[in-house]
Symmetry: C2
Subunit: 206 residues, 2 copies
């Protein structure tokens, strides 16, 4: 398969959610312009994105919602359950543990790692808070492939280096600091103030 | 000024953070390839993004970090303080109230709106939790221009419609559902599971 851009992957995730909604509402086919309208992009972009993966739609008939949803799920790797560990159990970590969307999409937080002795040893919503030193065994036994970083910015690089050393290749990082990782490892940075800046750009330049 | 794409705006926010870090470390000039390296994109992309706004860099000399930072701040509308209201004070709302990055970038949560009578009337970290019915007066008196939506998915559209009716033009939405707004209003959707899907795409197709 051709390598596709990060923004295409993001749009596929959005199409996937739109298709989910349509299927829940018993809609069986959808056109690229309908997908585009919900997503506020162009129909041509939708067709281009989907054409990367072969031709699904029939001209004039649109896409079959279930078939397209399953294909996108396959591309995004959503046909399996993913085991995730959360590092850091402060305000953001706590909100993420309770974030319904993760489980809905097949992401299961299986362990929480901390260094705060007051938190270690508790079980919150069925998930144990463990010392980060236990990570080598726990990552293996729980088959964890993705780590969510919710530690203070000043510790983030050190924590990520530690988990890269244990063979983890994918991180979702909530700490707002530049992170360096070796080739073959991916870090997605989640910074809520960056999203707000897209709004202030709009408000300033409208 | 030419209209720039959403992804360019996001990259400008990233450059802004890189420049901030460099300035804190007393770095006075930076080349496009250095910015690119930190950001894992191409130097050509950095030059292209910055060229939208006139020519700052001198060939061979790079960009002056302070000057470039101030210019980007101006483009993104970060030279002023922005007053924000948070709607919904559940797990995500609570984490956002304590999210340091907002204040650091000039975003001030000035009010929290709720419908839960048990929460209304309290003051958390100096911010009052008010009934949503008080919004018309509070938005005016606190000069609120941006609303963060942290309500359940099933209420999100209704809540956004209400605030659009009160003249709000910019929303950051944490509820995972498709939102429709009239022209001239912008909604940025923050969905943490979409970021995870970029990781599972990578892990599946690497």
């Amino acid at each position: 398969m051709r390598k596709i851009s990060e923004s295409t992957v993001t749009r596929l995730s959005q199409y996937y959610r739109i298709l989910n909604d349509l299927i829940e509402n018993n809609v069986e086919t959808v056109s690229s312009s309908e997908i585009a309208q919900i997503n506020s992009i162009t129909a041509a972009q939708v067709r281009k994105d989907l054409s990367f993966f072969g031709s699904f739609g029939k001209r004039g008939l649109g896409y079959k919602t279930r078939e397209l949803k399953e294909t996108i799920a396959g591309i995004l790797g959503l046909h399996k359950k993913w085991n995730v560990a959360l590092v850091g159990f402060g305000n953001i970590g706590r909100a993420l543990l309770l974030y319904d969307e993760f489980k809905k999409q097949g992401f299961y937080i299986q362990a929480i790692f901390e260094v705060d002795e007051n938190k270690i040893g508790s079980t919150i919503h069925g998930v144990d808070i463990l010392h980060v030193n236990d990570a080598p065994q726990v990552l293996l036994s729980k088959e964890i492939e993705i780590i969510i970083i919710a530690v203070p910015a000043k510790s983030a690089q050190k924590v990520i280096d530690f988990f890269v050393g244990l063979g983890i290749k994918a991180f979702l990082n909530f700490a707002s600091t530049s992170i360096h990782v070796p080739k073959g490892v991916i870090v997605k940075n989640e910074n809520m103030s960056i999203e707000l800046e897209a709004l202030t750009y709009f408000l300033t330049n409208k």
